[in-house]
Symmetry: C2
Subunit: 199 residues, 2 copies
């Protein structure tokens, strides 16, 4: 074995030891609360990636789309026929298009009722509350209601929350928080949103 | 309309104007280069979310897994039967397990040959180079080879690169770069990786 190979082997052994130690320390198993926040691309996309993953094992999944409901959505199309997936949509479109606070609040409450049902159902392994952060920000939903539903959910149920500016009370109770930060976005260079990639 | 509703309506109108302006400015359509990097959870997951999305419209997709090939992978299971999806796997497991630089380099070159084929195929709408950043970091692949294949790919083809520490030459040529930063990770609180969620 030459020097470079030996150094490589030693570095990898050190890394392996560190990984093995962390794996040994991780002993708890239960449903998680994950938050994908930040201003970059990938929050909803990572949520749908996890949906696909969970469906891959035959788990039941519920997705509640609080904003992008009226958009074409390739992943919804791709997975729609899956009997383990339920999607609830707040079908008022983007809130800056409607500009009607009362109608949006009603629409939000209706779709939240479906979220609450999923969050109370021990058969549902994963619930995605897509873009719910904006509902809290706009005051369509109150944080105490959301926290209560999350606190009381079945122990084995994982929840993913997506959206910018996640409420600090949600962040505080989450197991995993990833901030997706925009370093660069094609849209700002004059590139149009692309079918099958951006939506 | 009461004061609060009026203020809401005005704020939304302002937001709508800004969004509409940006949409009007975005006029170019072509394949994109996206990078999901950073130390947080969600990079590979967002890539698979995009795969699901593209398949939802019937586009052809190629995924090359440079590291996690031996892991169980729910999304691969879920989508495996899709005739529009091809997955190529570097099946040597994690590199800190093998600790064999020469064998890893050969395995990397083999799977890279499949990536090159996909990157030259105008029928492939989306190519995911999952965790290729580590191949560059470990010196199994050289940056010039990867850049050349990306530069020469079909104009309509989108490529997603995932992994920590993306090479600055890749970042420089990308259309969209998101840094997924770990704010908190369940694993560090003693929670085990969870089936259908983490893998």
């Amino acid at each position: 074995m030459n020097d470079r190979d030996t150094r490589h082997q030693q570095a990898m052994q050190k890394l392996k030891t560190r990984v093995d130690e962390k794996v040994a320390e991780a002993t708890e198993q239960r449903g998680l609360l994950l938050i994908f926040t930040g201003n970059g691309k990938g929050k909803t996309t990572a949520a749908w990636g996890t949906v696909t993953r969970a469906l891959g094992y035959g788990y039941r999944v519920g997705v509640v789309q609080f904003i992008k409901g009226l958009w074409e959505c390739g992943e919804r199309e791709r997975l729609a026929e899956d009997p383990h997936l339920e999607v609830a949509i707040m079908a008022t479109g983007f809130t800056w298009d409607t500009q009607d606070r009362e109608a949006d609040t009603r629409a939000c409450e209706e779709v939240w009722a479906q979220a609450e049902r999923m969050l109370a159902d021990p058969e549902v392994y994963l619930v995605v509350l897509d873009e719910i952060t904006y509902m809290l920000k706009f005051g369509y939903l109150d944080i105490a209601t959301v926290k209560r539903a999350l606190d009381n959910r079945p122990a084995e149920q994982t929840v993913i929350i997506t959206g910018r500016n996640a409420h600090r009370e949600l962040t505080a109770m989450a197991d995993t928080v990833t901030e997706m930060n925009e370093v660069r976005h094609a849209f700002n260079s004059g590139l149009q949103a692309r079918r099958g990639i951006d939506y």
